[in-house]
């Protein structure tokens, strides 16, 4: 009986309007303090740049893209977004811990295998990483933070992300429903 309750509570999440309201207040607060919005993919870019820089410094310097994010005296990891993402990991860990959702697992529909899930996760990640560079931001940095200040680029990116996801959802339906 007690186990049943615990199993159930794993899927009890906040009311989406409550979560959305708090997220909106947080974005407002972030703009009020820093003049910028939130971000997520930027920290991963910093990680890639710093990995390439330590593996092959000459390659990083010669590349027109990596070199944009490398300065003489500071590591690319000393960046606002990297600190913010460290916070995200801590905050999500606290929330998951309070609700008993922490544990190693591969989440997937019972209709597909774990291997299939991981292959699609890898492919989806590659596409998202590539797209986020082309659009200079992801759902957090470009779409959500952009929309908060009525950025035209933010709105276009948001429409493109959701439009293309709805348009192609049919081809991936086996993974989810």
């Amino acid at each position: 009986m007690k186990k049943d309750l615990k199993q159930k509570s794993k899927h009890i999440y906040w009311n989406p309007y409550y979560g959305g309201f708090l997220l909106g207040i947080l974005i407002l607060f972030t703009f009020y303090l820093t003049g910028r919005g939130l971000g997520a993919s930027g920290a991963m870019k910093s990680s890639v740049v710093s990995i390439i820089e330590s593996v092959s410094p000459t390659h990083a310097e010669e590349s027109n893209y990596y070199s944009k994010f490398i300065t003489e005296d500071e590591s690319p990891m000393k960046n606002w977004l990297v600190f913010e993402i460290l916070g995200v990991l801590i905050g999500a860990f606290i929330s998951g811990g309070l609700s008993g959702r922490i544990g190693w697992r591969i989440q997937h529909s019972p209709k597909i295998t774990s291997k299939r899930r991981l292959v699609f996760a890898l492919g989806g990640g590659i596409l998202f990483g590539l797209g986020a560079q082309i659009a200079r931001g992801c759902t957090s940095g470009a779409a959500l933070s952009g929309m908060a200040v009525l950025s035209t680029g933010g709105f276009i990116t948001m429409l493109a992300i959701f439009g293309s996801a709805y348009a192609t959802a049919y081809f991936f339906r086996k993974n989810w429903i």
Partner: protein, 196 residues
């Protein structure tokens, strides 16, 4: 007058500490809203769970009303805020690629990090994929350069691009969001329930 750090009200030394604190709240809210679950996130594309739509648009509406209201009251100077720039074809093509990645992988970067924090192995693979994607972009940078750097219209807002009154736009945007919430609830009742 905000923004506080750029205007020196809060010393710049606090910047990174504030970044961590903001990140903690961001991660907590996303995880508590269920965004560490790819099956919950993907629900928005199949109609069995609209949490993404509701959280995302509630947040956008609250933030945009807040920003314009604080500007109106004189607490925040909207002209000093960073506006995401418009590179027209970069935004469209990048967005289309991200959309496919979203529905294929079930996460976006921020949500995947929340899932990593609670031990989802599929999310760890997804984050690895994002880094591979960034690596591919960087290596093929000259190839992407025309859309990455081209079709630039500046750091423009809808007020600049469409010439509409921002207050009216915020009002209409809020109405659209509420209508979307109502429609999403109607759709969800018709779609077969998925348990995850």
């Amino acid at each position: 007058m905000g923004p506080l750090i750029p205007n020196g009200v809060i010393p710049i030394e606090w910047d990174n500490i504030i970044a961590i604190l903001i990140g903690i709240v961001f991660g907590f809210v996303l995880e508590a809203s269920g965004f560490s679950s790819s099956r919950k996130l993907a629900g928005v594309f199949y109609g069995y769970d609209f949490a993404v739509l509701k959280v995302f648009f509630t947040a956008a509406v609250v933030a945009v009303i807040g920003v314009y209201y604080m500007d109106y009251l004189g607490y925040l100077d909207i002209t000093q805020l960073y506006v995401h720039p418009l590179y027209l074809w970069g935004a469209i093509i990048g967005g289309i690629i991200m959309g496919v990645g979203f529905v294929a992988g079930g996460f976006c970067p921020g949500t995947s990090l929340c899932a990593v924090a609670i031990g989802k192995i599929d999310a760890i693979v997804y984050v690895g994929g994002i880094m591979v994607g960034i690596f591919i972009f960087s290596e093929l940078y000259p190839l992407f350069l025309p859309i990455y750097d081209g079709y630039f219209y500046g750091n423009v807002t809808l007020e600049d691009s469409l010439g509409i009154n921002p207050y009216w736009f915020v009002f209409i945007f809020s109405i659209i969001a509420i209508a979307a919430f109502v429609v999403s609830d109607m759709v969800r009742k018709k779609v077969k329930k998925i348990f995850y």
